[in-house]
Symmetry: C2
Subunit: 458 residues, 2 copies
């Protein structure tokens, strides 16, 4: 069998993009502005200075199309980038589909995911500004691991609030962060007002991403020369993650391909936002017209069952309000195993693009179906995927089978955001046969949405 396209399409380090791409520069309709909860007025960059390093605040609001990647950040990127685009020949054969399936694999660095792409610049800009310490939260642990690696490299102290249920169930994930020098606290903790208040009411509270965010932000704004860092949702994160899609576009061009479908899992949007970037630019500027699919867990269906409204990003309501698809900040998703996708809201950029029909489609998939796809993929493509990434695998398989039905040799690109080394308790649950698909009831969904605080005039 002669193959024109290699299994792994590689770039050299001089092909790492030197600039990030800001998709907002090409959006004709802009996302609605953040609202400062103190004034209930649209926020400006300076409003975020107590929370984030100043350059990151500037990036949150910039309308520049391209932002230079600092040399120091590029030096770190070169330790693990460019990441490969891989042709899933075995999966294609197995599905007997005429579709061509490619995936961009971000899981071969120690953080195990794409999160390092934003962790490195975030730590760099804080270091450059002379910030003494960073705080953050982590749920599944991928973001905390990535940030602890970047902090070790730039010699920056880090405090991580880890959702308590993950802290207790994933001792090894915590140990990676310790090894890279981070302090890790289970959230809710007794180190913040918000944590103490929650524990006073409910001592057995096992935490949530929204609570951990509140604790990390409170600690940052109430401690001298300390800033907070967030691994998803924000415009700055999508900016940094644009490197994924820019590399992938170059890699597909090298084999004369352009994706008909771009598929990514979406929790807060960091991966899908990054993967789609360069292809979305083509769509926004009329150069090409890929079909974009966001894949979310049916257990936390922000796009498919949420509302497009202003909401807080955290449980404690101390962050700015963002206009986004949301299930309500009081919505606590069931503890599905794709912890990285358990977030009530969604990137404002992705939300706007979806609302306007430019991000074409969102699909919610069940946990059991996702693991079926994950194990099939592992056995035939060799990589054990993270449960988050497996959402995209599931959708890619479905699309490839739809192509087969229609006899169409379409080109599919999906994001394999990470590996599943730290998710083996979830695989154990799947292997034991006890895993089921799950979706919240209409009452659960309605309750979360009804508790969204209505902001007058918005």
């Amino acid at each position: 069998m002669s193959k024109k396209v290699p299994n792994r399409i590689l770039l050299t380090e001089d092909q790492i993009p030197k600039q990030w791409y800001n998709v907002r520069a090409d959006m004709k309709e802009q996302p609605d502005p953040y609202i400062n909860p103190g004034t209930m007025k649209p926020a400006v960059a300076e409003d975020f200075y107590p929370i984030f390093a100043e350059e990151l605040c500037r990036q949150e609001f910039t309308m520049e199309r391209y932002v230079d990647i600092p040399e120091e950040v590029l030096e770190y990127y070169k330790l693990y980038r460019p990441s490969p685009v891989i042709r899933a020949y075995n999966l294609e054969r197995l599905l007997d589909t005429p579709a061509k399936i490619y995936y961009k694999y971000e899981g071969s660095n120690t953080s195990g995911s794409h999160k390092l792409n934003s962790a490195v610049p975030q730590v760099y800009y804080n270091k450059k500004q002379g910030i003494a310490r960073i705080t953050t939260e982590t749920g599944a642990g991928q973001w905390g691991t990535a940030l602890s690696m970047a902090c070790a490299y730039f010699d920056m102290p880090l405090r991580i609030y880890m959702v308590k249920v993950s802290y207790e169930q994933k001792p090894y994930r915590k140990e990676v962060m310790h090894t890279y020098g981070a302090d890790v606290f289970p959230s809710p903790s007794d180190t913040t007002n918000i944590g103490r208040a929650i524990l006073a009411k409910d001592p057995g509270n096992t935490g949530s991403l929204g609570t951990a965010i509140s604790e990390a932000v409170e600690m940052a704004v109430s401690t001298p020369n300390t800033r907070y860092s967030l691994g998803s949702v924000l415009n700055q994160v999508l900016l940094h993650q644009s490197i994924i899609g820019m590399e992938a576009k170059t890699q597909l061009e090298m084999v004369d391909e352009y994706p008909d479908y771009v598929i990514g899992c979406s929790g807060g949007g960091s991966n899908l936002g990054g993967l789609m970037s360069a292809f979305m630019q083509d769509k926004l500027t009329g150069k090409a017209n890929a079909h974009f699919i966001a894949v979310e867990p049916s257990a936390c269906p922000s796009f498919t069952r949420g509302v497009y409204a202003y909401d807080f990003c955290d449980v404690g309501h101390i962050t700015p309000l963002a206009k986004m698809y949301t299930l309500g900040s009081s919505f606590i998703p069931t503890s599905i195993h794709a912890g990285g996708l358990r977030y009530h809201g969604m990137s404002p950029i992705l939300s706007k693009l979806y609302h306007d029909g430019i991000l074409d489609e969102a699909r919610a998939v069940g946990q059991k179906d996702v693991f079926d796809a994950a194990v099939l993929f592992a056995k035939h493509e060799s990589i054990l995927p993270a449960p988050e990434s497996a959402h995209a695998i599931k959708a890619a398989i479905d699309v490839a089978l739809e192509c087969k039905e229609r006899g169409e040799a379409k080109t599919i690109l999906f994001g394999l955001t990470g590996n599943g080394y730290f998710d083996l308790a979830a695989y154990a649950s799947y292997n034991s046969g006890s895993m089921e698909n799950y979706a919240p009831t209409d009452e659960d969904i309605e309750k979360g949405i009804s508790e969204i605080i209505k902001v007058p005039g918005l």
Copy 2:
């Protein structure tokens, strides 16, 4: 700062070697032959037919210099190879050494190590012969994981005997093998005569690699159409692993380098044997003269404190005898965290080369010192190393500092065999400050050696 050499030196898939290199073809003095324990005569390939697939038996004895890699094996190699050679710029800066440090990284596939390089051909040849099932043992779990991945790919049933203490302490490692479809039994088990005998004498026995080998071999030879598979020690394994060194040599040539030092950790010899191959060929044929260093744990010092003698490869004494550096098959190393290096013996090829002074040097390093090196490396080079691999890091750092002392800009190549994702209990022990260096007493060593069965006439 201008850099001529990139951080990561990459090859494309058409640069994967098409043949393995057999170092025995260039050894003027051959290793002493295996001894068939039934006849106490030198073994021939046919003696191994009940244990291994026939083509693997042939490879165990072949004197051909090159062996073609089957197309089907190359197809799998392309899923994760070629592996990168990485220049450790940050480590060099940190040590302020004039030495140049390169490492060949084999840890970015899901098995987490180089073991896949031999697992794939071993399963392939068994499948081709129509073998119905494979048995194996695993200690740290890297070999079992690699073999389960290869078995999933070639649709071959697999039974793994996992050293009981690892089975209980590493539930996640076991779960990876389950996910790829393997059956995993704790060893000693009640499924074999040897296991039952051990449990009858000592019900709380937590197992050893030597016991697990005995169980897996017994199961293979006593079950119809079943064969055994071993991930280290054997000539066939070093043959398959030669791909590591062949790639590395090409990669260094691309940046006009040749190693003055080649450094690898050595448990059974699979990694060092593979990494050194192409450079050892140059030494054996007078073309170049790298200095080779085997690094072993001071807790299991086969090279540095063992004897060069005929010994069994297993506790149950059902395998052939091999002439090798050994601590005696009854030697049970303390449960140091580099489980992959806890083996009483050593590859007969490496043993012979070391005995003849061609493999220049062996160093034993303490566990605490190894983890000091591992964490330093992780923080500055970003990759979290497997404890086994960290033995080579420790030695590479020492050599780089020796170069600094002497003001020599030597080129160092070491093997980073794997990542540490499944060794976080060990990192936790290190992080807690409770880890210490350890070496057996002279009495421990003498006891093991004194129990080696003396074979008359050998």
